[in-house]
Symmetry: C2
Subunit: 389 residues, 2 copies
DNA sequence: GCAATTCATCCGGAAAGTGCACTAAAAAGA
DNA sequence: TCTTTTTAGTGCACTTTCCGGATGAATTGC
């Protein structure tokens, strides 16, 4: 008989366990795959998996995989995170919509629902609505509330790091609110929150166009303009959690007044609403962003010019940031992210204004998740945080 | 008989060994102190220390420490890194000087020497000179070459990450050179290299005004303008190792042409040489930076105005960077770092141009190491890299 | 049917960490 | 002075974790 010893060895084991669950969060894998990915021995991985199966966190799937790269050999048994009793919820709160998704622990979505809501002015009401949408989505996925492990939530505003509180006045009906705590009170589940740009970046790194990228600047252009910055593979949130406020970089001393109180902010020149407003007079039909993107794709010269200019304006600001951070990739998200003209404008400005070596090192591309980046990121956040326990 | 198994357990042991040597790099400690600091058990620490003593990396000192916080109890036996046979060398190559220091593994300097050298135009010659200075300093410290474990070197130009090569044309006589490899060839010691801003940041975080700061922007203003960026406690070098090029942020579309080939770079407006040049016409005596700083301290209004403007110009660029990174501190180094007028100007510009919460979160201060920041950083680099093995 | 190949597990052993008992050395108090 | 208390360090038995080789399993190609 001897006392239990909670120490360094157990922490090591835990780290390895998390490595395995983390890898499995990306999809089913064989024990052999896990061996190669973790660098551990076959034996160790086998024992870890056995343990995880015994504890119900992992299940052995019925389908067999291909025997390593097409050749011969015994086909592997795939293991996956246990979906039953282990789903997660993502909540994406935008300026004008709420989207809710229920996903299994590999990130595959089981049920999803979107609703148009006047989010900006009504914090408490929006959260009520989100909570009932979550309950409905869980039911539709055939799950009870106890089957959900955690909620990841996306809000369109920076959060204060220590208090997880919304402090800026960007969302009038939310000021002083702790969205995570509020939703937790309504659902009784652990809730993890971050802003839209950060979660978009997380999504693109995990399941999108930036897989394997260590240093990424993800730029989201929609109602506002924000950045999610990934450095060394980790999201950079800053000292008080409000890093990434690229929209309030100063681009003109006497530009229009911004909602942040300053004037000349980048966001006042290139937000989606601003661009629609600029383009409207030249068109008879009423424009919205989707229509503008259509015209861009059709080669409308006026639209191309305006979007290209917007890209160049963003690119000029990004050039300064890239000089400082030397990232591997700049990825575009938000409604404007899909426009080739914007991407081209950014590329041009980077080549012109950034240091040649910095410009050469950085790839510019559109995110591959489109307007689902935020919800995917919210789900990822929940998965990551659950796996970390 | 069994094969050697380099695996997870050995890595764990190594990590613990490094934790111990890392702690001892800050000064002698007792085994009990190490137990508290590492969180490991007494037994484990004891065995680690025994092992390190056997391998000669650590010695037991003769003096005993106080018995834990003044109370009673057996006084501990202090152990320290073995200084004899364990010193490190720092080399600071500036634009116009070479400085060399020999230090023990706690970072205390045993011998130091500075020489004026026309560095920019003569790469190979400068390295010859540096190598002979290192040999002389070792001799003066009463050490043979075998007593030195490694060299940390500081160069005033960004290095390419993969090749450790100088690629920019800023140092004409160095282009294409691998300074680390070159010095290694001359000294036969392992050489680790980084640029001046990065090493200044490292020094201030380790032994200067930024101790304990996780997110730091260190701005060095001297012949050029560069930044060392520390995020999450780690130096951020970027995808190709050239992060921190703050001097080439664009502040005016049609500004003067910069040595980098662009025009309107921040560096063209606020480098030390540029400021001296701006101030000279208003003074009869020939000015240099030291004299300018003296006039600033004496309250000369013209000098204050020009330095304040310089600070505001830097601060304006920093405001954008701070909006994106939300750092905890901005620290000033280089010859201009000591000027209160510059610091004040930066503070003003941050308050004006950065987001209010970002500006409120960031402290602005002068580095506490002055022009020795680079050499301290070079020594620190050597110590850190040696401890990591 | 047989070799080749890959996948997974079992077993024995080695490496690392921990608790406990024990000794050592000093201060505090009777 | 002698005992008690407190802290420091070490030896030993034991547990946890990991690894390598042997073994068995499942499939492809001949």
């Amino acid at each position: 008989m001897s006392a239990p010893s909670p120490g360094a060895l157990e922490r090591l084991r835990g780290a390895h366990r998390r490595a395995v669950t983390g890898l499995l969060a990306g999809g089913p894998l064989s024990r052999a795959d896990l061996t190669r990915a973790t660098g551990l021995s076959r034996t160790t991985v086998s024992s870890l998996v056995t343990e995880l199966i015994a504890s119900g966190q992992v299940i052995e799937t019925t389908d067999r995989g291909r025997p390593h790269k097409g050749g011969s050999g015994r086909p592997p048994l795939l293991v996956a995170l246990a979906t039953p009793g282990g789903s997660v919820v993502g909540v994406d709160v935008g300026h004008h919509h709420v989207r809710v998704a229920v996903a299994d622990r590999t990130g595959d979505v089981l049920a999803e629902e979107t609703a148009a809501v006047d989010v900006d002015s009504h914090g408490a009401h929006t959260l009520d609505r989100a909570a009932s949408m979550v309950r409905a989505a869980l039911t539709r996925a055939g799950l009870g509330r106890d089957d959900a492990l955690a909620v990841g939530m996306c809000v369109p505003a920076p959060l204060h790091r220590a208090s997880a509180q919304i402090r800026t006045g960007i969302l009038p009906g939310w000021q002083g609110l702790c969205p995570g705590e509020e939703l937790h009170r309504r659902l009784g589940l652990p809730v993890f929150v971050d802003n839209d740009a950060n979660l978009g970046a997380l999504a693109e790194v995990g399941r999108g166009a930036a897989q394997g990228v260590a240093d990424l600047v993800y730029v989201k252009v929609a109602s506002g303009l924000g950045a999610g910055i990934v450095l060394g593979g980790r999201l950079h949130r800053g000292a008080t959690g409000i890093a990434g406020e690229l929209g309030h970089v100063q681009v003109g001393e006497d530009g229009p007044v911004c909602r942040c109180g300053n004037r000349g902010c980048l966001e006042t020149l290139v937000s989606a609403s601003r661009l629609v407003q600029v383009l409207q007079p030249a068109h008879d039909e009423p424009l919205d962003m989707a229509r503008v993107l259509g015209l861009d794709a059709d080669g409308d010269p006026g639209v191309r010019r305006v979007l290209g200019d917007a890209g160049r304006t963003i690119g000029r600001a990004l050039a300064d940031l890239c000089n400082s951070l030397n990232p591997e990739m700049v990825l575009l998200g938000g409604s404007l992210g899909a426009s080739p003209s914007v991407a081209l404008g950014i590329r041009e400005a980077l080549d012109r204004y950034a240091q040649p070596e910095t410009a050469a090192a950085v790839r510019v591309a559109a995110g591959s998740l489109g307007d689902r980046a935020e919800i995917v990121g919210a789900v990822s956040l929940a998965i990551v945080r659950v796996a970390a326990t």
